[in-house]
Symmetry: C2
């Protein structure tokens, strides 16, 4: 009940957010950056409390690592905000300017989406990144963080909320929801919330997607492939696969299945095996693979699995078409890479594979907003509508059509009294 | 069961569609245009059967008018296709080209959405328009038309399917679903269908939106407003309102509520009343309105109604902010117009009103793909994600990120061996 009321107020403030000048939004970002710097000790103190609590509760190592918000992470967050200030304004961009007839002018102009609900797990640095992206793009943001990071999130929220309010940003810009029931209540507010961005485990994202009428942007699975084509450079292929699998094994853009062209398999697999052995990666191979190298078998179910672990499945395919079919069938439309020296194969692969990222001769791990030069990202979308792949400022705006007339009416055109004369301005 | 199988085959063909050159797609459009022209008699004959059946079943006048497919509608459809051929290709457009580092280049390139399900009521000309837009944009299209138009749709489908198949377009490009159960089965195919576009009544669209995991693009309500500001030119305001209400009373972009600034109401309403009386439009007024002119009262519920009839509600507001709040609360985010001679009011109105179309001194009836110069439209979206307002070719494409490397791996960047050097190409 209370959350419904809060989101309605936020919705009303979202209209004001849409009218703020870039100068106001950028000075507010600068104020946030300065406030975070000035109040570093309070942040570290709150984070230490969260860490103590987490250790008491035996939180797993990787989660502890994500939860930690130290000087390095604060510096990264602050320099992220500073770089956002320097990026061109995503709002008020004219995407189309067209004269429809004398005195009748149409403009398609970018504007904020409105109210964005972000539900995320432990990482407190995500809070700072997301709040900054929403501020730059003129969106109101309702945050629901993980309970492990409650103290850190509360302090970060307080600092950002105070700094922006002082800078003339409406109060509704940033809201922190702290109760556990908050999530299911938020998911019901489809009249006030325009978009939900969930960041967390596969099950978590699927739960969100299945339980709200609000559009959800993000991804559940990350089942990425590397296809080693007939004409691949074997050294490059081994290097790319080792990186794609082991550079950060728990990421969504990590490779899960390797597809190997039958004409190169005999030469390639024996070169790959020791490199993966060195990193303790277990290969699960198809029958043909196991004729060439010694490894446990891959079941059909393996091809649809996001291992998030030191395991990779290997399948030998007859040609590029079979590789493409496999990727489009079993993949999650996230990021898939071809290793080849043949330009025609590159072109075919990139046209036919239906994924947000299609790569040539490089690691799937490059799928990331920072690595694409977006400054930051609110997440990665495997949906094909609105935003696809890493989502930065561009994915946080929509547009409206503005039409300027001087008493123009449609019946004049319907009756042929006037004719449209389209002319791009 | 059968529909699930069909949509899977269509999905497979959608990957091929994405690789067709603009030349192949444009020649196929030309072949469709020629075939429709050559087989006009067969179309008219089938349409005559549908019309006979509809008259027998006492179909309402406006529905009969929509169902009719005569020489004029065929000529319009054919000239629509011919103009589509001339439009720039919506695919393979580079939206971003960036060097991330030496030898590592990122491109954001447009591509088709994939498989689009279109569910529409009686109008057979919609079938031609939608099929042509999907062909131009490289999408596969699954059509479910109204049973009233079954004969016409079947003949049109046959002509288009045959002409495109002969032109080298995959079979899966166009599918016609004829059974009534087809709709609920289509709505379940979220693994094969990327987008549903429903065209029909409010209840119909809401049913579709509530019953599918597939993203839906379109609009249920069309509750549009005209705000007559303090400094409005009264003659313009009357002319714009008469057109917005009566030019085509059953359209989604017809005005339903007028908001009148209190400072102009005494002068304006007596000028408006006779003009609306002339067109038999009934005014339902707020208490203040009824102190100035004689009319039945507007209830609170009137402000949320899409009359689709010769009725308009009138409310007097204190200022522009109140008008904006009313529109953002009761409106459907479709199209809203301000009549004023004050530039500052125009700017505020356009920034603050959260609708797909925000207009100045012109009729809400301009909200239409053809009138915007898009050539044709698949519908109008009141959603804020992906496409907003009239949806033409741009709304039928998405993009993918293509990354070209030469053995580039992420660990080199993570360890500081290499640094990103972003440079737009």
């Amino acid at each position: 009940m209370e959350i419904t009321k809060i989101t309605k107020d936020v919705k009303n403030d979202s209209f004001k957010m849409a009218s703020l000048s870039p100068d106001i939004r950028n000075s507010a970002l600068a104020a946030v950056s300065a406030a975070l710097c000035a109040q570093a000790d309070a942040i570290f103190k709150a984070n230490a409390e969260d860490l103590r609590e987490a250790e008491k509760n035996d939180l797993a190592g990787p989660l502890l690592k994500r939860l930690k918000f130290d000087r390095q992470k604060l510096d990264d967050a602050i320099s992220g905000i500073d770089s956002l200030i320097g990026l061109p304004d995503p709002l008020f961009r004219t995407l189309l300017a067209r004269q429809l007839d004398d005195g009748l002018r149409l403009y398609k102009v970018t504007c904020p989406i409105g109210v964005i609900g972000v539900i995320f797990e432990s990482r407190p640095d995500a809070l700072v990144q997301i709040a900054a992206l929403c501020l730059k793009s003129g969106n109101c943001c309702i945050l629901k963080g993980g309970s492990e990071a409650a103290n850190t999130n509360r302090v970060l929220y307080g600092i950002i909320a105070q700094a922006t309010l002082k800078s003339g940003i409406p109060k509704g810009f940033l809201t922190l929801v702290e109760t556990r029931e908050g999530i299911s209540e938020l998911l019901k507010c489809h009249e006030s919330i325009d978009l939900i961005i969930p960041r967390g485990s596969n099950e978590f994202v699927q739960y969100i997607m299945a339980n709200s009428k609000i559009p959800v942007m993000g991804h559940a699975d990350g089942i990425c492939h590397v296809f080693v084509d007939r004409s691949a450079d074997i050294r490059k292929a081994v290097k790319i696969i080792v990186d794609s699998k082991t550079q950060y094994v728990a990421a969504c853009n990590t490779v899960e299945t390797l597809l190997v062209h039958k004409d190169i398999a005999e030469e390639f697999l024996p070169a790959l095996k020791p490199a993966l052995d060195d990193r303790s990666v277990i290969i699960r191979g198809c029958a043909e693979t196991r004729r060439i190298i010694d490894c446990p078998p891959a079941e059909e179910a393996d091809y649809g699995k996001e291992y998030l672990d030191y395991i990779v499945s290997v399948k030998i395919v007859g040609d590029l078409d079979e590789a493409v079919r496999h990727i489009n069938t079993y993949g999650s439309h996230h990021t898939d890479s071809i290793v080849t020296e043949d330009e025609a194969s590159v072109e075919q692969f990139m046209l036919l594979v239906d994924s947000a990222g299609v790569y040539h001769n490089c690691s799937t791990r490059f799928a990331d907003g920072f690595r694409y030069g977006f400054g930051a990202e609110v997440g990665i979308s495997t949906g094909k509508l609105h935003a696809r792949g890493p989502v930065g400022l561009d994915g946080l705006v929509t547009y409206k059509y503005k039409l300027f007339g001087d008493g123009h009416i449609v019946s004049d055109y319907a009756e042929g009294v006037r004719l449209f004369h389209f002319k791009d301005l």
